[in-house]
């Protein structure tokens, strides 16, 4: 197997799209091949990092939405409602 094929198989294992027999075989290979296991562990962590990056970008979009709602003169009632909760006014 090439490195690239391993990357694709690990991707499918993480996504949960391997069929049951391939999944069992892949898991057996993880046990007998330390280098494959290391690739899997690093790739799983890489996915987690990309997911965290995605969440960070979504937070930035939500921050922009928050500012636009709070600065919209037509939504002053909403802003006052929130400020009242925190006794800001």
């Amino acid at each position: 197997m090439t490195l690239r094929n391993n990357t694709k198989l690990i991707e499918r294992y993480i996504e949960g799209s391997l069929n049951p027999s391939d999944k069992v075989l892949f898991e057996a290979n993880l046990i007998v091949s330390p280098s494959l296991f290391e690739q899997y562990r690093s790739q799983k962590k890489a996915f987690e990092m990309v997911q965290f990056y995605h969440r960070k970008k979504l937070r930035e979009e939500l921050e922009t939405l928050h500012q636009s709602i709070f600065n919209d003169s037509e939504k002053i009632g909403f802003k006052l409602k929130i400020h009242k909760i925190f006794k800001i006014i």
């Binding site: 197997m1 990092m49 990056y53 939504k75």
Partner: protein, 195 residues
């Protein structure tokens, strides 16, 4: 080892992409949810002694977790969107402020909510993330577009200007291998440091 040809793997990839269904995130569709759900989360956070900024942070995270659950087609989302977001917000608050666990009342529905274990990064992962955000930013952006915005290879071609789908796929895997390689190198060095 499993043996697949490149053609097999490409066909599998197409099937995987077809299985991913839900619509991508559009923050502009969230205005109504924001106006209805945020005051409820704000009241909860205020009750727990938090500030407006705390409420905003918790609410944003709760919306993101809700969106992730919806994308995965979680079966347990039976109640209204607003009630579910409030429930997630309560769990996130408990995750952040463990000592207040006993002061947060959870309904039966809220009790069944389970927040992803690694939602907040640990210290080492934060360092790794900072490094990747600097050295692998373009790749992180490409991979996020593909894996988490559910963009197809065709959309990558359009948005990123690749000459064709094959080139987009090759670049996607190069990026994944680059990020994996940095992760491997840094994780090993952290492990060595701990020894």
């Amino acid at each position: 080892m499993l043996h697949y040809t490149n053609r097999d793997l490409e066909q599998m990839e197409v099937k995987v992409k077809v299985k991913k269904g839900p619509e991508p995130w559009n923050v502009n569709d969230l205005t109504e949810t924001y106006e209805v759900a945020f005051p409820k989360v704000a009241r909860f956070v205020k009750k727990m002694g938090g500030t407006l900024d705390d409420a905003k942070d918790i609410f944003h995270d709760a919306v993101i977790v809700y969106y992730e659950f919806a994308m995965k087609g979680h079966n347990e989302i039976h109640s209204s969107e607003v009630a579910y977001i409030l429930g997630i917000a309560k769990h996130l608050w408990i995750r952040k402020y463990k000592s207040q666990r006993d002061h947060v009342s959870l309904s039966r529905m809220e009790n069944e909510i389970s927040i992803p274990e690694g939602y907040y990064l640990g210290v080492q992962d934060k360092k790794l993330f900072s490094l990747l955000s600097l050295t692998g930013k373009k790749c992180m952006e490409l991979l996020r577009t593909f894996y988490f915005n559910n963009a197809s290879l065709g959309e990558l071609v359009t948005v990123w200007g690749f000459p064709n789908k094959h080139a987009a796929s090759v670049q996607k895997y190069k990026c994944l291998e680059k990020i994996r390689s940095i992760v491997k190198e840094k994780t090993l060095s952290y492990d060595d440091f701990k020894k």
